[in-house]
């Protein structure tokens, strides 16, 4: 029997998180995402939507195709992001 990697393990990427995941933002790593934005621009935009270190996040909803995009509760705001960009958010 194989065990699934624990989704709420020590540190994972928000882009991999499934619906129901709750955690806190540990770091932003713009380089992690294969986004069309530069790492710093992506980080800026994520911060502007409230993703700063220590913010509580919860994945509320997933899209139909490829479970993408995801709706994430960031503190008391709900934000839709694609998994591609969510890879820049390291969560625990």
């Amino acid at each position: 029997m194989t065990l699934d990697p624990d989704p709420s393990g020590p540190a994972s990427l928000l882009g991999h998180a499934r619906r129901g995941f709750t955690g806190t933002v540990q770091a932003l790593k713009g380089d992690n995402a294969l986004s069309s934005l530069s790492a710093s621009e992506l980080e800026s935009r994520l911060i502007e939507l409230g993703f700063v270190e220590g913010a509580r996040v919860e994945v509320l909803h997933e899209g139909l195709i490829g479970r993408d995009p995801i709706a994430v509760r960031v503190e008391n705001l709900t934000v839709a992001v694609r998994r591609r960009e969510a890879m820049a958010v390291v969560v625990i």
Partner: protein, 623 residues
């Protein structure tokens, strides 16, 4: 001496209730224009404070920061900094925050403080915040931010009293000390530090309830469900189109009846002759055939504004992002494309929410392919004249099916064009990010919906009264002059300028089955698609006498073959028959290039589609 006009600008994050606060403060004393050189809407309103100070208020586009990533956000930055052409440096920056959601707003306030402008903060929607158990220590927040803070409830009468008093006392200060402007775009580290500072201030002055807005969460559990969510979206769209076609019908018949009666009254009152013909055929039947669509336009805008106000549009974008991504479109393109079902012009203007230029251009390029309400008259006329109202497969109305098919072809071709554009022009670019706030649901405010629908209805009527009216006069003139020689046996129009022009173009359009009357109608149809219907009416009514004016449909059924009618429908799915759309594309894209690309690709598609339709129909014996 009267005190000079006090200039206030409203700044806030998207969805903070800024616009409803603007409406509450200024009422109907608003004027909407564009900033020079860009199509960003400049909304200015006026008010007089309780102490009698004249105030000008500008509602700036919502933004999360002053970095200016889109034309809208650049305007906000430039106006606040006093850099925008033709704008004075604001006397006061009125920052608006959604009291239920202060994190991003406080960060914006901290950034705005760097501009050195006098500033106040209004905690809007304070009633909702209180109901949810949010408590704000207003004096502490004010002290921490170093600016005056008041609470407001824009949607309630008297909910802006404190704010007005604050404006008065701020305006009364003689030449308020403007700080120095040391604003520059924040680096990532500065943004992060500012957000931390904002969180610290909120932590000290605001206590949040344990539970979030359960109502929004419960609605979203259904509305954003991967499967049911899409079903609900489809249902909403279905109801919307049902409303546009079925519910608006009785009102439309009423309007049509009114214009018909008016025409007959003119015919009975005025002596027969040129003047009677001009008023009855040119003015009344022409303008009337366009105004008849006002109920449909009001209906579609009503739906779009309601969904927008309720907070559903962002959800629709979320649900459609991946599906539209398959066609190379951005999730945010859903709202502009949906608006394009009403009219491509607001649709194209709504593409400003797409910050990536390539995605925006693709959306602008295909927006005119969505079946706008101006095509409805053309489709309705041809379908009712040529497609029998029989049931197929027992329960589906054939006419309705054809109408649906025309919509489907429009959507499918839009997706196809977008896919090709993405594939051939922008293959090497990674898709732009999709990051969007999903605001809490709010009950739509009737007043602002009514205001929005009213503005758009007036815009349509104004167009009917000016452009379309002018075109109708032109068409009537072309169809009436020169008058037929005495003793002529053919209908008068055969001798007119219209016939001469029409016959000149006819050879070009003959392969697609168009006769010279259609060729004539297509020219004024460039002003607006629906004019073609009126123009056909004018052309045929002048040719065939007064009975024809009342029944364009039956007239066409005897004059056109089925193949011609189908070819005409195919033409209208694609043809760039709208000068205003082309003008807006030129303005929005900042040059002629994209306008001509749109014009020629649509023209090519229209010609090809008509050619294929006409020849297949003839091959099947419908010629």
């Amino acid at each position: 001496m009267e005190a000079p006009l006090y200039n206030i600008v409203l700044v806030g994050t998207p969805n903070c209730g800024k616009t409803s606060l603007f409406n509450a403060l200024t009422g109907s004393r608003q004027k909407v224009a564009n900033y020079p050189g860009v199509t960003v809407e400049r909304k200015q309103g006026f008010l007089v404070t309780p102490r009698g100070r004249q105030v000008s208020l500008i509602d700036l586009p919502g933004t999360y920061s002053l970095r200016g990533r889109s034309p809208d956000e650049e305007i906000t930055r430039d106006v606040v900094l006093g850099r925008a052409t033709g704008e004075t440096l604001p006397d006061l920056v009125l920052c608006v925050a959604d009291a239920t959601n202060l994190r991003l707003a406080i960060r914006l306030v901290l950034e705005l403080k760097h501009t050195g402008r006098p500033m106040v903060l209004a905690l809007n929607m304070f009633d909702i915040a209180k109901r949810r158990g949010v408590t704000v220590d207003v004096p502490a927040l004010s002290a921490a931010l170093g600016i005056p803070v008041v609470t407001s409830v824009a949607v309630r009468k008297g909910g802006v009293g404190d704010l007005l008093a604050l404006i008065d006392s701020t305006a009364a200060l003689d030449a308020p000390p403007a700080g120095s402007n040391d604003w520059r775009p924040h680096s990532v580290a500065e943004l992060r530090a500012t957000q931390r500072e904002a969180d610290r201030i909120i932590g000290a002055a605001v206590s949040l309830p344990a539970r979030p807005d359960t109502w929004t969460a419960r609605v979203d559990a259904v509305v954003l469900h991967p499967v049911f969510g899409l079903v609900i979206l489809a249902l909403i769209l279905f109801v919307m189109f049902q409303a546009v076609f079925a519910w608006a019908q009785p009102v439309m018949e009423l309007i049509a009846g009114g214009f018909e009666a008016l025409g007959q009254w003119v015919q009975a009152t005025l002596p027969a002759g040129l003047l009677q013909s001009f008023i009855q055929n040119g003015v009344i039947s022409g303008v009337g055939s366009v105004i008849v669509f006002l109920p449909q336009i009001i209906t579609i805008f009503l739906f779009i504004l309601l969904l927008e106000d309720f907070g559903y549009m962002a959800r629709a974008a979320f649900l459609m992002d991946r599906i539209m991504g398959g066609a190379g479109l951005h999730g945010r393109a859903f709202i502009p494309l949906l608006s394009s079902f009403a009219c491509a012009i607001p649709g194209i203007m709504a593409t400003r929410v797409i910050d990536n230029r390539r995605d925006r251009l693709t959306t602008i390029l295909i927006a005119p392919l969505m079946t706008c309400s101006a095509r409805i008259p053309v489709y309705t006329l041809i379908i009712s004249a040529f497609i029998p109202a029989k049931q197929v497969w027992g329960w589906i109305n054939l006419q309705g099916l054809v109408m649906f098919g025309l919509y489907a072809v429009g959507i499918a071709s839009a997706m196809g064009v977008s896919f090709l554009v993405k594939f051939f022009m922008w293959r090497d670019h990674a898709p732009a990010p999709f990051m969007l706030e999903l605001p809490d649901y709010k009950l739509p405010r009737l007043k602002s919906i009514a205001l929005g629908v009213y503005t758009r209805a007036m815009m349509f009527l104004q167009r009917a009264g000016t452009t379309i009216f002018a075109m109708m006069v032109l068409i009537w003139f072309l169809a009436s002059f020169p008058q037929p020689p005495a003793g002529a046996t053919d209908p008068g129009i055969d001798y007119s300028l219209a016939a001469i022009i029409g016959r000149f173009i006819e050879p070009l359009l003959a392969p697609v089955g168009f006769n010279w009357q259609i060729a004539v109608a297509l020219i004024p149809g460039m002003a607006a698609r629906e004019v073609a219907v009126a123009a056909l009416g004018t052309v045929y009514s002048i040719e065939g006498g007064k009975e024809a004016a009342e029944q364009i449909g039956q007239m066409l059924a005897t004059k056109w073959s089925l193949a011609t009618a189908l070819s005409f429908l195919a033409w209208y799915v694609f043809a760039p028959q709208c000068a205003s759309t082309l003008a807006v594309i030129k303005r929005e894209t900042g040059g002629w290039r994209w306008m001509w690309i749109t014009f020629f690709y649509m023209l090519a598609m229209a010609y090809a589609a008509s050619l294929i339709t006409y020849n297949i129909a003839r091959g099947l014996g419908a010629g």
